[in-house]
Symmetry: C2
Subunit: 263 residues, 2 copies
């Protein structure tokens, strides 16, 4: 049976938000760690599973309100481990996908602090599951590409994709920002056909999930839900535009949430 070891830092993926999508290992580490440092995106339902004696601290840096620097996070992790505590660094999704885990790993290695990475279900996989759509497909999508739309915040001018995007790819844009017209323009420049399906999914795999979909030609004016938002672009999304129904689970949690809101 896994228990969190003293003096060790665990970089743990919390998955997309649904506590049932935690891994068994993530759950056991949450149940036994002395200290937990988590991102803002990790929901209350997941944090509620932590050992009730654990010190649980948010080190989130969301919405441009920096509360702690990346260096500050490194120092917290290293000091806690050196003080003999078992430390969980909890990140939404998978820690190695757009989670700045590389910088934390480098800092832990430099400080010779023992660490372990516990993978998690990254948002793209949860979104595909919630939509009931494959991300790869033998006919239409032999490549799956994750990129970020950080630039949409205005800090960075790099497009989501430069050069020709393969026709047989599903492109997933993490953190796309609000400017869909810019992303639509960039995709057109990368050779994506105007009739390729584009889907925006907000709060994927949670009770607040909402989905909007259209073809690239209308994408610039698509009304998307709030962050956390994920874009899925490619021929594999075609059933969505053909009106394929959602799988059970999603209908269930979304309608349950609607009932609770109405009650």
């Amino acid at each position: 049976m896994t228990t969190a070891q003293k003096g060790t830092v665990y970089l743990v993926g919390a998955g997309p938000g649904d506590p049932e999508l935690l891994t068994l290992r993530a759950l056991r580490l949450l149940e036994t760690a002395d200290v937990i440092f988590h991102d803002d995106l990790v929901p209350e339902e997941v944090l509620a599973l932590a050992n009730r004696h654990a010190l649980v601290t948010s080190v989130g840096k969301r919405c441009g309100r920096p509360r702690i620097t990346q260096q500050g996070i490194h120092a917290l992790l290293i000091e806690s481990a050196r003080a003999g505590q078992s430390v969980v660094r909890l990140k939404s999704g998978d820690p190695l996908v757009f989670g700045r885990a590389g910088e934390e790993i480098a800092a832990l290695r430099a400080a010779r602090v023992a660490f372990e990475v516990v993978p998690g279900v990254t948002a793209a996989l949860a979104a595909g599951a919630a939509l009931g759509l494959p991300l790869t497909d033998r006919k239409s999508a032999s490549k799956l590409i994750f990129c970020t739309g950080h630039h949409a915040t205005g800090k960075d001018e790099t497009p989501v994709w430069s050069g020709l995007l393969p026709e047989d790819a599903t492109l997933v844009v993490y953190m796309p920002g609000r400017d869909t017209s810019r992303i639509a323009r960039e995709l057109s420049l990368s050779g994506v056909a105007q009739d390729v399906p584009c889907c925006a999914i907000s709060h994927a795999a949670t009770s607040r999930q909402s989905v909007a979909a259209c073809r690239l030609q209308e994408f610039g004016t698509l009304e998307c839900g709030p962050a956390p938002l994920l874009l899925l672009i490619g021929r594999a999304m075609e059933p969505l535009l053909e009106g394929a129904g959602m799988p059970n689970r999603v209908r269930e949690i979304v309608s349950q949430a609607a009932e609770e809101a109405g009650a």
Copy 2:
């Protein structure tokens, strides 16, 4: 508490093989399903968690020995659900990533059988965790690309990547086959620099894990471990060539397996 519903098919990701990397939802479905159809890659340790009254059947098609057709799998899923059973279709990794789930979903939709997709930890994420290396990095890897090397079996002449591969990408090749010299040639043609790190990881995140790494210029002659094999290519793998140590967990399970083999 989740239980598998009668008349429903659950397409469930079993993760990379380590039972602790199952999601809570996957575990609960395994514990309550009437029937389980699994791929050959799902290990005994995971199947051992199934309800002991469940009918557990392999529908694997590995190593060119077709035991059942894809159509045959669809028929099994549909018939079992229609007979009022709760059905788990268990796939290694995540069901939507190179798992032919799209075809099974289309068949279930056409037959109006209720279904749900339960995402899992895909092999690439488990490999990154086992290596203690990020798959994306703010400086060197702002894109993460999954593709397959199916072609290496000789059935398909499509290269793993056509055209220019972005410099700031981590490329993960699933099912690369044995012909690394062909993949090395294709990567060179796609503009990948000769000094880019290439890593081959066999049986990632299991007790049989083995890792080989070099730069692209030597990749054509690299001795890789047996399938299931995964290639990770990109600047984010640099620490591996600089001799960065593996995280705890992997050392632990690999050395434990070595001890058991020696005992």
